[in-house]
Amino acid sequence: MLAACAAERETIPTPPAVPLSVHGAWARAADSGAMTAVYFTLANGGAAADTLMRVQSVDAAAAEMHVSTQHAGMMHMSPVTALPVPATDSVAFRPLGAHVMLTGVNRPLTEGDSVTATLTFVSGATLTVRAGVRKP
């Protein structure tokens, strides 16, 4: 019986190496309950494109992908529901562009602190982003 279980376990395929990676993650300092933004570069070193579908964070009441856009002298911020990450390419989350918006951070975020966000992709891959907090 035990041998059978062991054999079963051995047949479970190991997941493929995740080609996605995150670099240079940082977030702005914020008061408890306030909003902040998380920025990073998301790289896809794999041969297949993927799509970022969801962001979550244990450090805030809500996390969403947003993009800031400028049109006719006005700044707008819009939620993004899916963000393609082309194969062998990268996507920059940076000020005045795409960012992860954390709403209602659950503690004061000060310089030297960090926040985490989990990214979930269409492929089923997940990535945990650990972003160091910088001065606002």
Partner: protein
Amino acid sequence: MIRRVAGYLWVMRIKQLLPVLMTLVLAACGEPMRGIEIRDAEVAAPFVFTAFDGTRVDIAAEQGKVVLVYFGYTHCPDVCPTTMGDWARARRALGDAAKDVRWIFVSMDPERDTPELALSYARQFDPSFLGVTGTTEEIEALKRAWGIAAYPEGDTRANDYTVAHPANTFVVDRDGKLRYLYEPGVSGEDLAKDLRKLL
């Protein structure tokens, strides 16, 4: 033949000197301002607010100082803190000269932002920054006077709506005239260089 060789050498010399000449010309002209200059600048529209700490700001009474105004909101996680961060770097780069500059953040979200919140938001970037807001009626009057727009986007019944607001920093010169608009993303160091020219 000799004349042709002499001419060739002259052209070569000019080519060699060209970068030097261009540098001299640029130095003489100075670096261009990064802001968008408003031609036929007029005196800035009325702007009178009292901050939560009692500081009264009336741009008409600030002549002799350069005044920067940004119309944003405190729930703005990206462009507003990016701009305020650039202001803070400009403030530090200016050193003592910053005493003749006023930095004013105006919340265009009177539904959620109080004068207290607007002030504490601005001061987290630099203690010398002023943050103000007003009643809905006062903000509407400000929009009309300055010819600007700001409006909520998304579900305003929820507390997490966004506010569309002017992208640029408005710069009022020492004569009280609205002279320049600075797009977001101009670095603090570049902003400081330009402000020095206006002081």
